[in-house]
Subunit: 237 residues, 2 copies
């Protein structure tokens, strides 16, 4: 503060961190897409690529967190900057959990392939694709809102989460019907239940990301608030 | 630093925060226990109490996070203290997620009661009790380790997570058998699948808490590391 040199150094470090957060975000987004395509194409090699990427994501979380702590300790940031740094720390925690969900899906694909179930049954995997498209679109939008600190777009992400939840509920009903019609499919269907749940959680993480963006920009913690409060905070000047 | 007055004021604030984190931890622990007892005793009133407590937990998360940011901005803490404050922020995020899992279980109990399924079927709810005992014991131990900054105990929590995962896998096998024997139980059993999953996640959150404790005390981020590395960090002088 007052020291131009220190201040611009801080801005430089911050923009470096933001770039890496977006890189990490792009990586987990493609992990989810790959994991779902591994499922719909019964492709174990693609699933393996997701699991390799998980290690890179975990490593990025630890590295960015370490750099955040170093910046806070070194630069004694203002209250506003501090809010940003802590929110970024929570954001990368969220992104790491998205990577976890993708890895869960990939491990399920391996298990389904190993059990030979894909050759015996016609699993309703295409329905899961649609839920996954909604969730990855939300995630992409949240990352885009983070890049531009855009609270209007963040608000859209929060509102869309409901749609993903409804898609998940519909999938549950379908899977239950499927199991009841042919109880031999129960074991494999339970795996799909968890895949659908993992994708629903990706939507939750995108929503959490959006809440952090509103906190960064507006300084108000809107988690656990009713939608009209969230809306008025996100849209206020 | 150097300033006795400021420093002891900081210690006072820090100990106040720690007390509230433990209070929040006690609350979510009892939420999980209540939610499971609502399930095993088919008691909708108990489930409702869990949902009331969830609002209090959410509120505590927001309040403690707010105070943490204020302390960091005001006290310009040393690197070590900063590590502690950021780790506490992650810890309460973890505890809030435990509260979420308890609320998920409570909502499932309501749904099962409303569907009248408890009077039609003998659901295998007692098996879930045992998994829940393991998970709440881990959570309690993690909170105790937090209170005493005890890395040996934190290490035990991390090691025990495996046992909860195995219990969960066993439960899945039982539930699948149960559904295959009587396909009319599928819908209710899927609810129990999610309850078992929620409890398994409580174990994961206890493990995350334990990892934060090791980070606070030893300054090494051991997330995503193999067990022998975790062990040597937790036990080093």
């Amino acid at each position: 503060m007052g020291d131009k040199h220190l201040s611009s150094q801080f801005d430089l470090e911050l923009s470096g961190i933001s770039t890496r957060v977006l890189e990490m975000g792009g990586l987990v987004e493609s992990q989810v897409e790959l994991a779902v395509s591994a499922l719909t194409s019964f492709d174990g090699d693609i699933a393996s690529r997701v699991l390799v990427a998980e290690e890179r994501v975990n490593q990025m979380e630890v590295e960015i967190d370490h750099d955040l702590s170093a910046i806070i300790a070194l630069r004694q940031p203002t209250a506003r900057d501090l809010r940003l740094l802590i929110a970024i720390s929570k954001t990368i925690g969220n992104l790491e959990r998205v990577g976890d969900e993708a890895a869960r899906i990939a491990r399920t694909v391996h298990r389904l392939i190993n059990s030979g179930v894909f050759s015996r049954l016609r699993l309703p995997v295409s329905d899961i694709s649609f839920e996954a498209e909604l969730a990855t679109a939300s995630l992409r939008k949240a990352l885009d809102a983070f890049a531009r600190l855009d609270t209007v777009q963040a608000l859209e992400v929060i509102k869309q989460d409901n749609q993903i939840d409804q898609e998940f509920d519909g999938l549950m009903r379908k899977l239950i019907t499927y199991m009841m019609e042919d109880p031999r499919t129960i074991s494999a269907s339970i795996d799909l239940v968890f895949v659908a749940k993992a994708i629903e959680r990706v939507g939750d993480h995108a929503k959490n990301l959006a809440e952090q963006i509103i906190y960064i920009v507006k300084g108000t913690d809107i988690r656990h608030n009713p939608m009209d409060t969230v809306e008025s905070v996100a849209l206020k000047d």
